[in-house]
Amino acid sequence: MIMRDQSHHGINPVNLKGKAWVFGDDINTDIIIPFRFKSRTNDPYEMAKYAMYGLDPDFHKKISKGDIVVAGRNFGGGSSREQAPVALKYAGISAIIAESFARIFYRNAFTIGLPILEISEIKGKVNPQDDLKIDITNFVVENVRTNETFYARQVPEFMRQMLLEGGLVEYYKKYKHFPWIQS
């Protein structure tokens, strides 16, 4: 079994910077990674080759490490597949900003340590390839081109802690308990 590359963990995502890739509403998990690929591997780098395959099979080749996905409503709807945020993360996406997220995708992204930010007014405020800066400690996004600042919906403290540690696995390895159990 291929182990996860440690360089992706314990990322210090306090300040992220990347170029925006802009998508519309209802980007579901079948678009993010089709079943027939994700169900035939357990290797995150293999999954990464199919990130956003449903809209652009070459997406993983076009993006640079640290780029940011921006989308409309209901990002990540459909299947519970954790491989969806994993594929995006290992393809090099550093964060996702959307007007809203589907329930299971939302949980999964925090679980695997992929920062996601819910900003209801983001639509129309970001153009493709805009440079964005994200302060993950405070959940604040800045569009460098327009100099506009956006404040994302806050999350429970245990989820923020889990995210800052790089996800549930990394959190558990460090503290030997799960983040929702306060010891």
Partner: protein, 464 residues
């Protein structure tokens, strides 16, 4: 064909967290509270903070609560990632393997070497930990037929886990690493959802089914119309209630995922009781585990709808989004390459029966292939026993083993470039059943069968 590794008696003895009859009296104040929704009641009961004390804390929608979980499932495409997360965390022991279910259903039997290797990984895990393994029944249908009881909290690494709401369980989907955490501690955090109440009235016209009803509703509220929310279904009278068999309720609870619902719950009534009698739970523990929870009459709902069954027409959804819903009349004459009847949404015996009635003495159109896939080994056996399979074969349709198969384009009915399929399965998303250029329309099994006969999208009413 189907293997169940029953948990050893020593692991069964660890089930101290599930309330038994004696405990239920302690929850009486919660169960009787008229101001609480189903979700608020069950989470109040299963809340870990108060489960070992006498004073029960009420949990209200919006609260984040850690709950005791009664059953935690992963399947062959989410289990491998869960197992890897456990390994990475260095976790050797599961909290209670009798509450852990692994299911090989999505690509079963393995369609190729890569799937076979992942299946082997799951089998090794199951034999190491002595948890339950089901092969060749779709997880949600197996859970409904053999494991779920009213009042259980069921979490599954599969979005359609919400199907078990049909039997009045709190059942919802989560991801792989979170299910690994549940396997480790028997617990997980949940936010108590807000509730939408949907009252059903009127009677279905001929040729209209539960699937048409839920597609119609999703078309109205959109793919995120119930995101994070609980759906509570209610019948306006007994006459309405009797139209909704357990199979129909399961279809609705399952498909509620397509508007984002966290849970989708039907009331407990004589149909529930009869179902539990007809399909005894394998843990043989019905009474001890069953908690009868009726939603409070004066509970707060964020939305209320009424659906008049008599006003619904056959629905066709798609392509590419489930909420793109039309009447069959608007879509008639779209030519199809494949008609698929199956999946956890509509692959139950009631579906097999209606399709047999329609295909009897008729032929599948020569330009169309018709694939029929039962949702479980039990449905498979029953379809054979009742003679449906002979009818299917006579008509030129193909009857497969129980698997997710075509529903996720993994085997037994995947679509090629530009092919068009009408399907009773759950979703019609881009590339869901195969090539990115293929198109999927969703409809009731009856509408799919009519379309198979005509080779184009067709109204089922003329065949009934």
């Amino acid at each position: 064909m189907q293997t169940t590794f029953s948990p050893s008696s020593s692991t069964l003895q660890q089930q101290h967290q599930t309330p038994n009859n004696q405990d239920i009296s302690r929850y009486k104040n919660i169960i009787d509270d008229k101001s609480l929704t189903f979700a608020e009641k069950i989470i109040s009961i299963k809340n870990v903070e108060t489960s070992n004390t006498d004073s029960k804390k009420m949990c209200m929608s919006g609260d984040i609560v850690i709950v005791n979980v009664d059953l935690a499932m992963a399947q062959d495409s989410t289990g491998p990632l869960a197992i890897r997360s456990l390994n990475e965390m260095g976790i050797e022991n599961l909290y209670d393997s009798s509450k852990v279910l692994l299911v090989l259903d999505h690509t079963f039997p393995a369609a190729d070497e890569k799937v076979a290797n992942l299946h082997a990984m799951i089998r090794d895990f199951v034999s190491k930990h002595n948890c339950m393994l089901i092969q060749g029944s779709i997880s949600h249908q197996h859970i409904l037929e053999q494991l779920a009881t009213p009042g259980m909290i069921i979490l599954g690494a599969d979005s359609h886990t919400c199907q078990a709401g049909c039997i009045s369980a709190f059942a919802t989907g989560i991801g792989s690493t979170e299910i690994a955490a549940v396997w480790t501690t028997g617990q997980l955090w949940l936010q108590v959802p807000e509730t939408i109440q949907i009252k059903l009235s009127g009677t279905f016209n001929k040729g209209i089914f539960a699937r048409d009803l839920i597609l119609d509703h999703i078309g109205k509220v959109g793919e995120d119309g119930a995101n994070y929310k609980a759906l509570e279904w209610k019948f306006s009278n007994d006459y309405v209630k009797r139209q909704f068999s357990m199979d129909s309720r399961a279809c609705i609870s399952n498909a509620s995922m397509e508007c984002g619902a966290k849970i989708s719950v039907f009331p407990i009534d004589e149909i529930t009781t009869k179902y539990l009698d007809d399909y005894p739970r394998i843990n043989n523990n019905n009474e001890a585990e069953k908690i009868v929870i009726h939603p409070g009459n004066s509970a707060k709902h964020v939305d209320e709808y009424e659906i008049e069954c008599n006003k619904i027409e056959p629905q066709v959804s798609g392509p590419d989004n489930v909420d793109k819903v039309h009447t069959v009349g608007e879509m008639a004459n779209i030519e199809i390459d494949q008609a698929f009847i199956g999946s956890s949404t509509n692959g139950r015996i009631e579906d097999m029966e209606i399709v047999a009635r329609m295909l009897k003495g008729r032929k599948v159109h020569k330009n169309t292939r018709c694939v029929i896939t039962p949702a479980s080994v039990k449905v498979y056996e029953d379809a054979i026993k009742r003679g449906y399979v002979e009818i299917y074969i006579e008509s030129g349709a193909f009857f497969t083993n129980s698997t997710c198969g075509a529903c996720v384009g993994t085997h037994l009915g995947a679509l090629g470039e530009n092919e068009i399929c009408i399907s009773s399965s759950s979703r019609n998303f881009v590339g869901r059943m195969g090539a990115l250029s293929s198109k999927v329309y969703l409809a009731s099994p009856a509408t799919v069968a009519a379309s198979a006969i005509e080779g184009k999208i067709a109204d089922p009413r003329r065949y009934l």
